[in-house]
Symmetry: C2
Subunit: 314 residues, 2 copies
């Protein structure tokens, strides 16, 4: 006999697959597997199926949600070309293929960042709030929106693309990134690393020294800030300012109550970074109508949890 209402949620990421079995909002089992780095979408789907079988060996859970690293047109379950997945260079009908492999069980597919926001709204930092923005700062910057208590996906599944909102227009744009003045030109680990590589080598010396395996990871930024490295300070200040501008724009446009700040890079920079972003959001607020900026609470598991919650959404 089933001990309550159970769903499975899977977060399909570029490096790992995380599956959770959720009963009444609690994770009662989890399974982590490496995402195939080579091969085809078929190999990735095999990994997802294995994760489901491990977490629910008798196949008793009827509904499965999957969060994927790309936009999904609501209702289709199709993930288009995804640069982080092996040879995923065409539309793959994930929901349909997974359902076929799982004895016709119900499979729903959504965007991972949107689903992470949904999880924070239902079970994390956004509980009890009707209107919120979840902003996740990692390699890039993604976001999700809950409006009037419901996840907004958009008719093309593209809602929440805050990394592609503009914080500098026309003649204000300068070096780095796409050069179009998008938030992702100034914030996110990839943008910051690009800016270090194009900076004056003398100024960049400390940060370049913190690279590990040729990559400047979040910890390198924290270490450089601790040593009061001027370039690290400038670039992180600029990232916080750009983030705050995009967030304040979203607050002004949508009259949001709360911003949940998550993602690996923001998490690593921690409370000082959150305070910096929130301070500038408040300063930029129209008519004093600001939104609090709080840390995400669910960490790495948000995407999988959100996928498990999605299958119950109307």
């Amino acid at each position: 006999m089933s001990g309550g209402h159970r769903t499975i949620g899977i977060d399909l990421g570029g490096t790992k697959v995380l599956a959770v079995l959720v009963e009444d909002g609690q994770i009662i089992a989890r399974e982590k597997r490496a995402t195939p780095r080579t091969g085809t979408p078929e190999n990735v789907l095999d990994t997802l199926v294995t994760a489901v079988q491990r977490i629910d060996p008798d196949g008793s859970v009827e509904r499965i949600g999957i969060g994927v690293p790309g936009p999904v047109v609501p209702g289709t379950g199709v993930l288009p070309a995804a640069p982080n997945l092996p040879n995923w260079d065409h539309d793959v009908p994930v929901a349909q293929l997974m359902s076929e492999r799982l004895d016709g069980r119900n499979v729903v597919v959504g965007n991972d960042v949107n689903l992470g926001t949904l999880a924070e709204h239902r079970l994390g930092a956004g509980r009890g709030v009707d209107d919120l923005l979840g902003v996740f700062v990692g390699t890039g910057v993604g976001a999700g929106l809950v409006l009037d208590g419901r996840l907004r996906q958009g008719h093309r599944g593209l809602a929440g693309e805050i990394g592609h909102t503009f914080v500098a227009f026309a003649d204000f744009v300068h070096g780095g990134g796409s050069g179009r003045g998008e938030l992702e030109d100034y914030a996110g680990r990839a943008a910051l690393e690009r800016r270090v590589l194009t900076a004056n080598p003398d100024r960049a010396e400390t940060l370049l020294g913190f690279r590990r395996g040729g990559r400047l990871k979040s910890k390198g930024w924290v270490d450089a800030l601790e040593r009061e490295d001027p370039l690290a300070r400038d670039l992180v200040d600029q990232a916080a300012s750009a983030l705050a501008a995009s967030i304040a724009s979203a607050v002004a446009l949508l009259d949001l109550e709360l911003v949940v700040l998550g993602g690996g890079f923001a998490g690593r920079l921690g409370e000082p970074f959150r305070r910096q972003v929130e301070g500038e959001v408040h300063k930029r607020a129209f008519a004093g109508a600001s939104a609090a900026v709080v840390h995400a609470q669910l960490g790495d598991v948000a995407g999988a949890l959100g996928a498990a919650l999605m299958v119950d959404e109307p």
Copy 2:
């Protein structure tokens, strides 16, 4: 006997009050009156009552919507301090006071720009579209949002404040306006006039010569553009670019299908300005997912029509 479903909509503007009697989506009577420039909020309410009595002499219309030039917390009917209305320096419970003056009839109050967007969605350029942004460029820049077919007002009634979204952050900001890099520092008749007044007087000569009564009106800009005045060209280009950046940000964040461009200034600049804005919105679109930018269709009557429609909203 009543000939169908009738509501009254009133647009309370800084210079005029426009009331319409609407039956089944058609305006069957209208009444225009000057907004009192002096006196108190009571005098303004008197004008609204007179407009209702003129348009519906026998008092048979049970429900009345009013659009007001400021944010209204949904459900309250209260208009806070409004700089465009005489001595309107405190919260005025417009819905309650008007209902008392109108024999207890039902009065609903909303923001004028939001209601203009609602009207364009139901009866104008946005018919049949689920997700749209209405942008109105006049003295300032305001907007309204329809998401999933419903007007978004926001819990503080502040949704749609696109004029206070940011198109330049931190070190990119330069002269003019609030100096915070808001859209309204670069777009809207007031911002453009400010920029003319702070420009090099030699460059500003043509535009300054087009002032009438000390004010640079929309027609002055059109005339200056026709003469290929370089400052007019630069400032209008910058306004279009800033508008496009804010619009493209909204499209990326919300996955919008359509943008309806209205307001006196945008209307006067006409098709070339619309094309300019749309072109840059398309150029800035993420993943090719853009939104068409179309002219508003309802002109001056949009706010009053939207107010008449609002009373039927769930």
